[in-house]
Structure formats: C-alpha cells, structure tokens
Amino acid sequence: MTPRRKRLLAVLAILVGVGSATALAMYAFNDNLLYFYNPTQVLAGDAPEGRTFRLGGMVTEGSLERTEGTLAIRFVVTDYKHSIPVRYEGLLPDLFREGQGVIAHGRLTPEGTFVADEVLAKHDENYMPPEVAESLHQPTPARVEP
C-alpha cells in the first residue's frame, strides 16, 4: 500500500470512529440529562412521565414513614403549594431531615407517586439546595388567594 493510501485509510478509520463515537455520545446524552422540577411543576404536568428526573423541595414535617423492619420509606416533598408523595427503598443519606431541603432522583408513576432510586440531601442541615431556594422565591400572584 502506498503511503498515500495508508494515510487515506487512517483518515477514513478516524472519521468512522469519531462518527460512531459521536452518535453514541449524543444518544447517551439525551438519556442522561436530568431535569429538575418542584412539586407544582410536576402536578402541572411539566415533568416527563416514564423518564427519570429530579424532584426537589422540602420534606413535609411528620411525613416520614417507614414500614417497620423493612427498607421501605415514604415521605412527602412539598413547595408549600403542592406536594408529591415519594416512595423509596434503601438507606437515606445522613443529612436527610424533615423540614429541610431534599432532591430525589427517580420517576413518576401514573398514580402520581414519585418512586425514587436515589435521595440526595446535600451539604449541611441548614443548607437549602439552590434550585429549591430559587423555586421558593416567587413574584406576587395576580390576586391574593383566600
């Protein structure tokens, strides 16, 4: 094979390689973009059904329930306007606390329960995740609700 052919072959191989790699990467990308929604947005239908997303808000005081002796846990995530019940099986992070900010990772069932495969409580007990804080700062509504 002439040096020229060798080089051409190399370039072709690289192009094919890069092309397929890019395709794979793009495919994986879409699947792994995790959007954040608060309970109000979820109930308004903004969140994708059947796809994993992140649900964030505050853990409603007194909502944490365990099925005694098992790993099954239920609690409620709220933004004080709307709430979503969450189901989770497993260990909760150390910093998980009622009345504090939390972000859960999982899917919404058709019945409206959020089944979490991961629960994140970040930083320290006084910290509010920025997405949660931002969603809790709101401009005035059109009229005051009774």
Partner: protein
C-alpha cells in the same frame, strides 16, 4: 493581635507580588538587570509573608481563637489538634490562603532552581507567577479575608464539617493544590516563551520536570479524593463525575497530554503549538476548576459554600489570565515552524493520537460539566448530566488510547516500528486476550464482551510496559530514570484499568434490613449482623455494629460500621466497615434504626477496587522517578554553560 498581624502580612505579600510582577515583566522587557534582580528578591519576600499569614491563621486555630470569624465557623473546642490545623484549609477563605502559600512555594522553587537560565526569560517566568499571586492575594483581601473578626467572640465554634475530620481529606487539599498550582509553572514558562518569541526546544526540556512534579501531585490528590469518598461518604462510590471531581480531573487529562507533548517537542522540536496550548490549558483548567467550585454557578455535593460575588472576582481574574495567555498564543504561536516529518507508525504519530484522544475526552467531560450552566444561562431549565453519560464519553476515547499505548511505547522516533517488536507485541496481545478470558471465566464465572475487552486492554498495557525492562535487561541496555518512570506509570495505568473493569463489571451493592442474627449474601460472601453497641469518640458518640463475613462457612472478617453523631452539629455520620483485599473489598455501612430491632445496612462486594488506587500510586511514582532523571539536570546545566559562554 496575631490575626491582625496575619492580615498585615498578607497585605505585604500582595505588595511584594506586585513588585515581583512589575519588575519581573518590565525588567525583562527593558533588559534592566536591577529590576530583574528585584523580582527575584520579591519572590523570597512574598513567600515569607504568605507563610507568616498562614502561620498566623494556623495559630488562631490551634489556640481556639473564636474571635476570628473563620475559626469560629470551622473549629470547635473539642476538635483534636491535628484537625484544628487541617481546618485552616477546611473552607473557602483558608483554602485560598493555602493556594497562595503553595503558589509562593512553587515560585520560590522555580526561582532557586532557575538561576542558570537566561535572566530575561527567568524574570518573565517569575513575573507571570507574580501576576497570578496578585490575583489570589487580592481576592482574599477584598472578598474572602480569613482574618475577619467576630465580635463578640463566639463562645463555641461551629466545628469542622465532620466529613473533613479525616486524615485523608485533611491532607487531600495540600496535595491537590500542589498539583493544580504546580501547573502554573508550565503556564508561566509557556507565556514567557511566547513573550520572548523564541520558541526553541530548550523550553520543553526546562518545563518537563516541573510539569511532571505538578502532575504527580495532582494524580495523588485525585486518588486520595477518590479513596476518601469511597470509605467516608458511606456509600462505596469512588467516582461520581461530580463537577468538583471533574474540576480536578480535567487539568489532569490536560497535564497528561502536556507531558507527552513536551517529550515530542523536546526530542524532535515538533508539536510546539500544541505543547504551548496544552501548558496554557492545564493551568487554565485549574483556574476554571477553582471558579466552578467557589462561585455557585454549578451545583455540587462537594462545593464550597457559594457566594456569587466571589464568583465575579474569580471570573474576572480567570478571563484576564486565560484570555491574556490565549491572545498571546494567538499572536506569537503562528511564528512557530516545525520542519520535521514523521512516519505514520512513528512515536510522534502515537503521541499525536494520544494527545488527540486525551483532548477529546477532556472536551467531552468539559461539555458535560458545563452543560447545566449553558442550559441555565439560556433559561432552558435546570439540568444535571448524569454519570452514565460521562462513563460512555470517557470510555470511548480511552479504548483506542489504551490499545495504542501498548504499541506506542515501543515505536521509534521518526521512522516507526522495527520488526522484532512486532513479534513481541503480537505475543503480548494474544497473552492479554487469553488472560482476560481466563480472569473473566475463571475468577468470576462470566464472560461479557465489555468486561473482556477491559481486562484485555489492562493486561495488554501491563505486559507491554513490562516488555521494556525485560528486553532492555536482556540486551544489557541501560535504563535511565525517565524510561523506568515511563514503565512504572504505564503499568500503573494498566493496573488501574484492571481495577476499574473488575469493579464496574462485577460489583454488587445492595441494601438490606437485618435483625440481630440475620444473614445476607452477596458476591459469594455471607454477611451476618452479630451485635450492636454504643461507642464514643473525642467529639462524637454513636453506635457500632458487628457484621461477621464468611465464605463457604469459614469466617473471613468482622466489619464494624458505625453511625456517629457529632457534639457540635447533630449531623449524623456514617463510618463504613471495610475489609480491603487484593482481590476484593468487602463493605458494610449502617443505615437507620428501622424499629423492631432491625437496622438497614448497605452491603457491597467490590472486586479489584484497590487496584484503582494502587494503579494511581504507580502512575504518580512513575512520574516522580521520571522527574528526577539526571538528563534534565545535567543537560540543563551544560546548556546554561553554553549560553553563558556564547553571551560573554
């Protein structure tokens, strides 16, 4: 009193940094001997004062001076001495002071070791390092002063984050910073070269040991962080593609490409533009990492308490330094001429592929890390990019890279592979595939394509690396330190690949609810929950469980996971029980009291995971060995003598 002195020392350090920058750069431009000498003196002075400032802060911590706000926020009267000192760099302000100290130390080292360099070049290097010092010291003095007083003094400190009360994490920042900041040396060398406009290969020879040194520290720092996350964060993960982790990994990738590119520039005078750009990139990524972690634009579990006002400062600093360097590059680099050519199968070719693949990986990781920021800035929603994407995107360039690595190590410069090596490498290849099949089927009873490829590549790299000393010793050829270093480092890469493949393919992680006497089985091991007791530490109290692990009926070990509550904060902390082994790690973490005498446990079986960090240590060791090759020191000295002779 002492904190005020520390504050004052920092101000003096800033003044000296200004002197260092101004006299260094102006002195070189105007060829004024006095000015250039002043820059050198300023370096020493700056180091002394930054060290004094650091000592003052450390003193405040050791003495439990809660009238200093930063101390009150990060310390506690019950905190043991070691952690009181480590708390100095436990949060934003103090860690900046550590940055400044490490930078001053590197600058001093460069100043001391570079006396044989031509004065204007040396002066420019010190001047640029001075500019960077100004940035960090000014940042501290204007937005992040560690010496701010708290009046009235707090009666008790808020305690160091319990996560940080750990040996590995205490030493992690200094080592990591030694790496991050060390890249500033290569950066300064690159900028000085560009400023001079004289871009010969001698620059590459000078920069290489410094870059290797910084790079090896960064390697150790990253490995420490990963190891720490594994046993301390309680969940057995060792890499999360978290923005903070990526912030240290990206400079590492750039640094790896840089080391190899420097080799080519040094040996053959090629890739000059690439090498210069990589030198700028490595440090730029370090600065970028600093920005991402401290400004609040990205959300991360590990990020410092965010303050966007600081973000503005860092961003401005970042833009000035990186933007300036890139403009300098655009202005001067086109003058570079690389005349020589090389064969497709030559070493240069492999190095080029190496660079391209590393940069591709780097770019994709950067994209994934910054994507949430882009989306947020364009108001398209709040997203994070999940680990699976990073895994795919990192794997893709790495597969060909590992394959080429095994060959490229033996390729000759310019001309390409010689016949004898072809046979050896075919044999090594066959051995690797066979070995991968044996491990997969034999040790784990499973043959999966991805796993087999991973194991094969790992073995391939390891065997190929070992072929170097084997053939050299047989031929009674000498092995300079640089070659030994290369072999060790590449072997380490293979070992780490082995570990990663093993752990990702065959790990088992499951949560269980166990009552006393209950047993759970994973990975061929039985974990029996034996007992629970109360335990105490100097500033915490908690519970500890006995988990008896056995295999085929024979007891292997007893794991003792703990759940701790720290006096100061009431934060609960999980201390995992881990049994380390060459073939596998066994892992147990305590969850919560489930009531009815049952607790939740997370149990994990992690095959080959130790080799990830062992591999990393070998990589760093290889770098260290190579950095101290006599070639660099001798050659440099004789060059300097020649330069002096020519000048006179």
């Amino acid at each position: 009193m002492i904190p005020e002195l520390g504050h004052f020392a920092l101000i003096l350090a800033l003044l000296l940094s200004v002197a260092q920058a101004v006299f260094g750069l102006a002195g070189a431009a105007r060829r004024r001997e006095h000015w250039m000498a002043t820059a050198g003196a300023a370096v020493a002075g700056q180091f002394v004062f930054v060290a004094l400032a650091f000592a003052a802060l450390a003193y405040a911590f050791v003495q439990r001076d809660f009238s200093v706000l930063y101390v009150a926020q990060n310390s506690h009267s019950q905190l043991p001495l070691f952690y009181r000192i480590a708390a100095v760099w436990g949060a934003h302000e103090g860690s900046l002071l550590l940055w400044a100290l490490v930078l001053a130390a590197w600058t001093l080292a460069v100043a001391a070791a570079s006396r044989s360099l031509e004065a204007p070049f040396r002066s420019r290097v010190l001047g640029i390092l001075g500019l960077i010092s100004i940035g960090f010291q000014l940042f501290m003095l204007t937005t992040s002063n560690p010496f701010t007083r708290l009046m009235p003094a707090a009666a008790e400190g808020a305690d160091l984050n319990p996560l940080l009360q750990d040996f590995a994490l205490a030493v992690h920042p200094p080592i990591l910073y030694a790496g991050y900041v060390g890249f500033s040396v290569a950066f300064a060398f690159a900028c000085a070269t560009l400023l001079e406009g004289r871009l010969d290969a001698a620059w590459a020879r000078w920069t290489r040991p410094w870059t290797l040194a910084a790079w090896l520290f960064l390697t150790v720092g990253i490995a420490l962080g990963s190891w720490w996350a594994y046993y301390e964060l309680g969940w057995g993960g060792w890499w999360f593609w978290d923005p903070v982790e990526n912030a240290s990994f990206m400079p590492w990738l750039a640094g790896t490409a840089l080391i190899h590119s420097l080799a080519v520039t040094e040996k053959r005078g090629l890739f000059k533009s690439w090498t210069l750009l990589l030198a700028v990139a490595a440090f730029s990524l370090s600065l970028l990492g600093t920005f991402l972690v401290r400004s609040g634009v990205l959300i991360s579990v590990h990020a410092f308490a965010t303050d966007p006002k600081r973000g503005i400062f860092i961003l401005a600093f970042l833009s000035a330094v990186i933007g300036g360097a890139l403009l300098l590059f655009a202005w001067r680099a086109p003058r570079l001429k690389s005349a020589a050519g090389f064969e497709v199968t030559s070493r240069e070719s492999f190095m080029l592929a190496n660079n391209a693949l590393l940069v591709a990986a780097l770019a994709l990781i950067l994209l994934g890390t910054l994507y949430p920021l882009f989306m947020d800035a364009l108001e398209l929603g709040k997203v994070t990019v999940g680990p699976p994407w990073f895994n795919v995107v990192f794997l893709l360039p790495m597969l060909p890279l590992l394959a080429l690595l095994g060959v490229g190590m033996h390729a000759a410069w310019k001309r390409g592979l010689l016949g004898a090596w072809r046979r050896r490498l075919y044999a090594a290849g066959a051995l690797s595939i066979a070995g991968a099949l044996v491990i997969g089927a034999g040790a784990y009873g499973e043959l999966r394509p991805a796993t087999t490829i991973g194991f094969a590549l790992a073995l391939w790299v390891m065997i190929s690396s070992l072929l170097v000393p084997i053939t050299r010793l047989r031929a009674r050829q000498p092995m300079p330190a640089a070659v030994v270093g290369m072999v060790v480092a590449h072997f380490g890469i293979g070992l780490a690949t082995l570990g990663i493949t093993g752990v990702q393919s065959f790990k088992v992680e499951k949560d269980f609810a166990l009552g006393i006497g209950d047993t759970a089985s994973i990975g061929g091991y039985d974990f029996r929950y034996g007992a629970l007791r109360e335990v105490r530490g100097p500033n915490w109290r908690g519970v500890e469980a006995d988990v008896v692990v056995s295999r085929d009926g024979r007891e292997v070990t007893i794991l003792r996971p703990q759940k701790r509550a720290y006096e100061s904060g009431g934060n609960a902390m999980t201390e995992a029980g881990i049994e380390a082994g060459t073939a596998r790690d066994l892992f147990a973490a305590l969850g919560d009291d489930l009531g009815g005498g049952r607790w939740s446990f997370r149990l994990q079986y992690k095959p080959l995971i130790r080799h990830v960090w062992l591999g990393a240590i070998l990589i760093a060791l290889g770098g260290a060995i190579a950095a101290f090759d006599r070639r660099y020191r001798l050659r440099v000295r004789s060059e300097a003598r020649e330069a002096a002779a020519v000048a006179s």
